[in-house]
Symmetry: C3
Subunit: 342 residues, 3 copies
């Protein structure tokens, strides 16, 4: 679709400044925008490209407006306003309805009339697919699972038996929800499987990235509250509880029975040990290992930033003798105090 920047600003409810005559047909980055493209400035790293941008208009904060050489949509939150603009410029693929003839649907499943079941998808007995839900190709929805209204499973998603997904979910390919948790009990050196009899319950407006795995609860359910956003390749252990509107970046591992608050942000590659609690509004930076409950909001870190290899090798060798170094410093302090007294 093409729309004038002034009209777009009006639809988004934000002030517009400049010449509104060039129609906007899509989005682009500041540095590569062709005419007819909407861009945005949210990350200061990209401010350097503002002066020379050829965008038809830029979504920008008021404090940056004076440096903007092209028409501007002014927003206190340019990234969010850009997100809404892009959603207008790129309407989602039209939804489909019905059951593809190659799908395999159990007669005891209950599908909303306007839901869609894609090719090669398997729907087992007792499954409920609600209004407008889009189950893409090659998914497996096992016995008794439920997918809420207007949710979309893109392709190759597996929902194990009994898993409950809320409304307007977006679940990317390769996601597995409801696999058994890692429950094993050691007896004389051998492992006995602990039956995993809980399920997974996921709220509304949740997005789950490609190849992420969410285990079912051992006894009670694994829970993701409304508005949780998970990136790719995340591992969520059994009985984990993730509070509403928490966002988790790729490659994070969350061990069993951890309880993460609302509005948390977990950086990529972080690890959270089991049976811990993270308060609301906790932020954990990339590759941090959380070994204790974090009861106060705030930022927590332990990821060690890279150094040139030789310097690092010298430094990590010292980490291995750090306790001894600290003892030597204590010894020096004592000696110096003694010599001062002497």
């Amino acid at each position: 679709m093409a729309i004038s920047p002034a009209e777009l600003a009006a639809q988004l409810g934000v002030p517009f400044r400049g010449d509104g005559s060039i129609a906007i047909e899509g989005v682009a980055t500041l540095q590569n925008a062709a005419p007819g493209r909407l861009s945005f400035l949210a990350n200061p790293r990209y401010r350097q490209y503002l002066g020379t941008t050829r965008a038809a208009a830029v979504v920008i904060a008021s404090q940056d407006e004076e440096h903007c050489p092209v028409p501007a949509l002014i927003s206190a939150n340019p990234y969010a306003t850009y997100a809404r603009a892009a959603a207008l410029l790129y309407p989602s693929a039209t939804t489909q309805r019905g059951v593809h003839p190659s799908a395999c649907v159990d007669p005891d499943a209950r599908l909303a009339e306007d839901a869609w079941i894609g090719p090669m998808t398997v729907i087992e007995a007792g499954v409920v697919i609600e209004a407008g839900a889009q189950i893409g190709p090659a998914c497996v929805i096992a016995q008794g699972a439920r997918v809420g209204a207007h949710s979309r499973l893109v392709a190759q998603v597996t929902l194990c038996h009994g898993v409950q997904i809320g409304c307007r979910a977006l679940i990317h390919p390769g996601v597995v929800i409801g696999s058994d948790g890692f429950g094993i009990a050691n007896e004389s050196g051998h492992w006995i499987k602990v039956p995993q009899v809980g399920s997974v319950v996921i709220g509304d407006d949740v997005e789950i990235g490609a190849n992420t795995s969410i285990d079912r609860g051992a006894v009670e359910d694994t829970v993701l509250e409304d508005g949780v956003k998970l990136d790719n390749q995340i591992q969520v252990g059994h009985n984990v509880h993730i509070g509403a509107h928490t966002a988790i970046a790729g490659c994070v591992g969350i061990a069993g029975s951890a309880r993460i608050g609302r509005h948390c942000a977990i950086g990529g590659g972080a690890g959270i040990l089991g049976h811990l609690e993270l308060a609301d509004h906790v932020q954990v930076t990339a590759m941090t290992l959380v070994t204790r409950s974090l009861t106060e909001p705030g930022i927590y870190s332990s990821g060690v930033p890279a150094q040139p290899g030789k310097a690092w090798n010298r430094n990590y060798a010292r980490i291995r003798e750090l306790d001894e170094l600290a003892r030597r410093v204590r010894e020096l302090e004592k000696k110096l105090a003694a010599s001062g007294e002497a």
Copy 2:
């Protein structure tokens, strides 16, 4: 099923103490148990919920029994006894048999009469599926692979050509076994593929978590011995050998040709470099990086626990100059010794 706690204790071969009249119908946590539920106390974190539990009975160690307000099944290993109890209370889904009409089975595959091949599953030539094995929906079992008796592939599992799986395996969705190892040889800056001509051989009673990947050997086979338990999202490189009854938590990466002993326990997110050996009974804690062979049993660590961000930033800045700090301490020691002599 419903069973009296006394009868359950008798079946499990453990002592029972208390009123055996309330039938047990399922399991629950100590804190949320409704009447009619069996609970257990294994992790001391949850001892706080014992006093007020409404469970019909609790599996508990003898030293905790006196604090248990409800009937008790006494066990030296409450978690293992609970595991057996739960298996009795929740018998596995009844197995199916036959080939789903939507499956695609090569006429040169050999399927046991009582095996089951689920919908949309592909079975290539030369495959052997042994007695009672359950191949769930949307799996791909490539040429010449073999699945042992009573193994279960839940759904969306890929076994590449020639992979051998033992008896009673449980393999969760998204698992890939037998993909090519990462064998590349550099020649003048370009990479040449090294053909991966080994396979993967997996023993009996192995469980493999969702979205885990196990590469085929470069020359010889990648091997998982009997009783190995892998959690989700694990990467097992080519030629890796994992000893019997070793358990590995989620998100671990094991590089090529590493050799891990028997009865090891590897914590989540750990990394093990290639061509190393870990002795039997080695334990590696979460997010630890193993860079050398560990020839002695014991616990090994290098995961750095999280700190509040500001404190961490100050401390990691010091890590970057730790070698220099150590040199300065040495200098102080020399000076002080000299001044002492003076």
Copy 3:
């Protein structure tokens, strides 16, 4: 196939020394080679097995030749020469052609006559599959995606809409290419989805390991240049650009808009934050966290090697007070200087 070592050396264009009469039928490791097997010595760890090898011939560097008790193929790059030899000894599976009757191919897809579409695979409208491409079982190739000539998708691969794959790609099971990037904008504590309108463009001769995920660009495309090699379980965020001939080991996470140079090597489990640039020829060791752009070629590290647990616990406790320790050393230095002056 069986071939004399002399003939093999001739085909590979390398010098041969020794008795060329024993036919080579396959490859093996030095330590386990049966007669009739070709082995190689590239990693010095395995030199210990050279003296007793029973291999029919060994690919070896000239400086090691004198210690080789069996016929030798001499190469300045034994691993690369071995790779070429193995490719001769184990020719790839013969390619197939046509469309399996169980596949679901949209009439608006364009398939080369000699391409192959395996069982249960879904090909949507607008897809282009070029000459000789092999799309294995249970893949999903979404609207408008393109697979270049002689590429192979092994099985269970998902290409989302519009994704472009070059020629001679090898893509392993469970790979997802073109899933939405993790683009979310926070507004009053709730997350708004940022439409991901870019795609993924992958060059020629790229290999992608099992269960790896590559997100589509937010605005422009995610790009992998020619000859990139990715191992298993890697996460590539939106807008990432990976330069030609870069190799990345398993479990690496690359955050959005990172730009990695050509001929880089990234070790397993490393993490690269977003919006960074890595120069050509940068090497990052295992489990290193890259938090800043690396503008110079060289090796970079921050992975902390494992220690015995008790020693580590003492040392990491000191890391938590390292800034304080450094201040105490500074204090000692001042005092000692003052006492020296006194």
